[in-house]
Symmetry: C2
Subunit: 189 residues, 2 copies
């Protein structure tokens, strides 16, 4: 998406070797007009969605905008917990490692909110090694949902997220795909 790429060039900040900071328009302050444009892009790529799944917190804004495009379909956000949820009778759970925060969260969804009849679109703000997306895919598999695909706002194509997800025969799209960082700038794919 041209609008997002231009914005990343204008307002993104590269920290260290490969952390892109987009706090000013994606994950602390949100440019909501851009977010709804990104939602349009997601919705045009996946026609048959009946439920949106994301993970707290930054994914929720994009999930909310995208749900509106599917005639206001339900949105479920997986919750993080510092302690392992042992109540596997009522929840599906997994562990998700955060690339930037270098911690692992226990993540769960109440079994009532993922059903075999759901056509699920998984949404997140960033994809690097794909840990969050893979964790959400695992929750969908436990629930026997139909996974329509994964849509992320910004993908780092030099990491392994896409390869891991496509290996599961699941379609992935990203609104901006970063090929590499070079001389303090961003090269898009």
């Amino acid at each position: 998406m041209k609008e997002l790429e231009e914005r990343i060039v204008k307002d993104g900040k590269i920290i260290g070797d490969n952390i892109l900071k987009v706090d000013s328009f994606i994950n602390h302050q949100i440019d909501t007009k851009l977010a709804y444009q990104i939602a349009d892009y997601f919705a045009s790529s996946f026609p048959n969605v009946t439920k949106i799944l994301t993970i707290e917190a930054s994914g929720i804004a994009f999930a909310m905008a995208t749900a509106a495009k599917y005639n206001f379909c339900p949105l479920v956000f997986a919750r993080k917990s510092s302690s392992l949820i042992l109540d596997t009778k009522h929840v599906y759970n997994t562990k998700i490692a955060s690339y930037t925060k270098r911690i692992t969260n226990n993540v769960y969804v109440d079994k009532h909110y993922l059903k075999p009849t759901d056509h699920v679109l998984i949404i997140d703000d960033f994809m690097a090694d794909g840990n969050a997306a893979m964790g959400l895919i695992e929750l969908c598999k436990k629930a026997n949902c139909i996974i329509e695909g994964v849509a992320v706002v910004i993908e780092k194509a030099f990491q392994h997220g896409r390869r891991r997800i496509e290996k599961e025969n699941i379609k992935v799209i990203s609104a901006a795909t970063i090929e590499k960082f070079e001389n303090g700038g961003v090269i898009f794919k």
Copy 2:
């Protein structure tokens, strides 16, 4: 709001004496159609808003829906941190105690994203003792923002949130106001 009250009666669950569980449509799975109706209600109550402020995670969905009603104004969500952010040069911070989780979070907003020219509407999903709202008000005051008001999805009127906020001469509205719980049911104000 009649739609929300009816939904609380239909799908809300009262846990113990005064915890209302609305996981199925507000803060785990979200009925996004209802959320955008709630956003309409919020927007009709505050005409002059240029920025939405909320706190991760459940507030983000309602903040995102509401921002769309203000011609897609920017949305800022305060971030929680397990450790105190000592970088007071770059962030405004405060502490917010969670009523249901019985923990206190350090909460911060980057100084770039709250400015004296911002007309801020503070949004959250629940208000009990008003700790989250009061914390967000404190961040706005540190930034010298113009606070247009506080809008919450569900207010527990038998706790002290509203009194604390109105004492600051700040307008509060709630989409559903619970007077009390009685015989396992909800009485609205």
